[in-house]
């Protein structure tokens, strides 16, 4: 900790805080307010306070728990592969490799493409008969075609694959940056101690990456949990048969297809509280580890 006048940290923080509060405070407050009312298509101008009715409805409908399960799978699988692939590629790319710049540039392309067209292109690649993926499975590996878009399970795998592709470059860039903060002498010391590659990774690389990686993982989890676009586009709005919805695509549908604004707001508040609980839990754990370390 450094010493400075008491006002110094606050003046450093002030500009960022002003911008955040200006943009976020009112919309958030409005949505919380809305969650306790009954604004919908039939009560748009005449909505009134209904207490916890919306929340009761959200938590008692069986669909909530199904969607929550899917959201958890969606988030867990995506974030795991984003981080695993991102860190792996970053480490490999900082080793002795030819053509680093071009490889790095190729690998970052999915992040640079507008998601709308990427997602639709992937939908095309998943077609049963003509999609590139099934054709490759058939011609190269002699595997039977997979009903990517018509079978409920595979139709959920398809957006996950797409989103892994979309998301790993970001983690790779973050990890590349994080690797630069590791002093070379730490590795040298580890080598002197006779550490092998894996030991160097777990004892030096990973702990040193953590400060930069943890925020990205936390935010990556939040973003993935709240990602509407990819599931919506790849599954074409929840196809087949609304079997591919996660919580947030369902909120989108309830709000815009059925105009059940207050119900959707209550749903959103529930999502918000769950994510908040998750983050507080994770932060408590990592900060207690930091203290013991």
């Amino acid at each position: 900790m450094l010493r400075a006048p008491r006002s110094f940290p606050y003046s450093l923080l002030l500009p960022a805080t002003i911008v955040m509060l200006a943009v976020v405070l009112f919309p958030l407050g409005y949505s919380f307010w809305l969650a306790f009312r009954n604004m919908s298509l039939y009560h748009f101008r005449t909505h009134e306070f209904v207490g916890l009715d919306n929340f009761q409805l959200v938590l008692t409908e069986p669909i909530f728990w199904t969607l929550l399960g899917k959201s958890l799978v969606w988030t867990g699988v995506n974030v795991f592969f984003h981080v695993a692939l991102g860190v792996l590629l970053a480490i490999l790319l900082s080793g002795p490799v030819r053509g680093k710049t071009i490889l790095r540039t190729m690998l970052v392309l999915p992040w640079a493409m507008p998601q709308y067209i990427s997602a639709l292109t992937w939908r095309g690649m998943f077609n049963f008969e003509y999609g590139a993926i099934n054709l490759i499975l058939k011609q190269w590996f002699h595997l039977p075609p997979v009903p990517w878009l018509s079978d409920p399970t595979w139709a959920f795998v398809a957006p996950i694959l797409t989103n892994i592709w979309l998301g790993f470059p970001f983690m790779m860039v973050v990890a590349l940056g994080g690797l630069t903060s590791i002093p070379a002498d730490l590795y040298e010391a580890a080598e002197l101690d006779g550490a092998n590659g894996w030991e160097k990774f777990t004892n030096v690389t990973l702990p040193s990456l953590m400060p930069v990686l943890v925020p990205s993982i936390l935010l990556g989890t939040i973003w993935t949990f709240n990602n509407t676009l990819v599931v919506w586009l790849v599954s074409n709005g929840g196809q087949p048969a609304d079997a591919t919805h996660i919580l947030v695509t369902y909120i989108y549908k309830v709000a815009f297809t059925y105009s059940r604004y207050s119900y959707a707001a209550a749903f959103s508040v529930v999502v918000f509280l769950m994510l908040l609980g998750f983050v507080v839990y994770v932060m408590r754990r990592t900060s207690s580890q930091e203290r013991t370390a």
């Binding site: 006048p5 039939y42 196809q239 048969a241 059925y258 059940r260």
Partner: protein, 412 residues
Amino acid sequence: MFRSLPFRASHLIACLMLCLVLAPGCAPKKSATGPAKIVIWSQMDPEERARFEKNIAAYQAAHPGVTIENVPYDTENLRQQFQTAAAGGGGPQLIFGPSDQVGPLSLLELIRPLDETMPKGFFDRFVPQALDTLNGHLWAAPDQVGNHLLLCYNKKLVPVPPANATEFLEMAKKLTKDGVYGFAMNVNEPYWLAPFLAGYDGWVFAADGKPSLDTPAMRDALGYVALLKSKATGIMPAECDYQIAETLFLEGKAAMIVNGPWSWAAYRKGGVDLGIAPLWVLPNGKHAMPMIASKGYSISVNVPKEQLDAVIDFVTFCTSPEAELRDAVALGVLPSHKDAWNAPEITSDPTLKISQDAFTMGRRMPVVPEMRVVWDVMRPGLQKVMNGSMSPADAAKEMQAAAEQQIAGMKR
């Protein structure tokens, strides 16, 4: 040494504020807004948009001082953005799109009842199929009718289109070979199921306005489309949505497709020798009857009184026979104005004539807001029947239950 600090920090803040103030300066200067400027948000396909821009140019030339700004959206975004903007007290003066958007927008009191807004007798000029009344009012001034599904076929492969179910099936089976399918259709969307439902004497709503999805007609319609799609029949690809059906038809790999007038321009551009025909007669001896709908202009509640006359004048121009005929001939859509409907440009054009005949066979799509729910609950059932995981009878039952539940939820 700490003295200078607050000064520095405030310096930084000042810089940032400056940044924010300067940023709008980067924007092009705002043109004058006033009665002379009309903004319209519209849902149009690319070709239709190009035509509309020409109509705007013609209108502006005849009315110097009036500027019309057309902002294109797709259907969903149009409704959502308009809903957000108009509810927030802003948004455009006019919104142009499919007839069913007036359902939610009128309930939310975001558009004006046009029977009270437009001059007396304004709506007498339209063909009756073009007008949809909701809660006793007219909410949109249509400039075209249609949206009806027809049988489109590749003349190279199909010399004469099939007239009934037997001919259709025989022909489709014969054509299915060498990587070519006899038939392709978007089987994921209930809009494509509707003609078959109507052909089997069913409909999405009963006379009392309640959904009527669990009916023998629904089971028959689902069963019939499932039969066409089945592996045993073998005339359609295994997964077939809008894009795939269209791709196959464009590449000459599907001989027949069910699609609407909006698709013709692209087929011709793609080099398909296009023929069209009304949908065929079903096994029960009745024609499959497509849903029909209009597209039209609605006026926002946020239009101030002093601007209303200018907006009304522009809407009147857009629904005039001249403007409509230009569109109809160029785009292959059907006009809503009686004079244009009967004009020789339409009746002597072979394609448009067939389209007109097919249109008159159709049934008007309901514009009540519950229609969106019905589409939505039909979709899962339809898709489950199509991928073989559910029987038509169960799907019909599920659709009805879901519709009742969702409509109840919507009305809470």
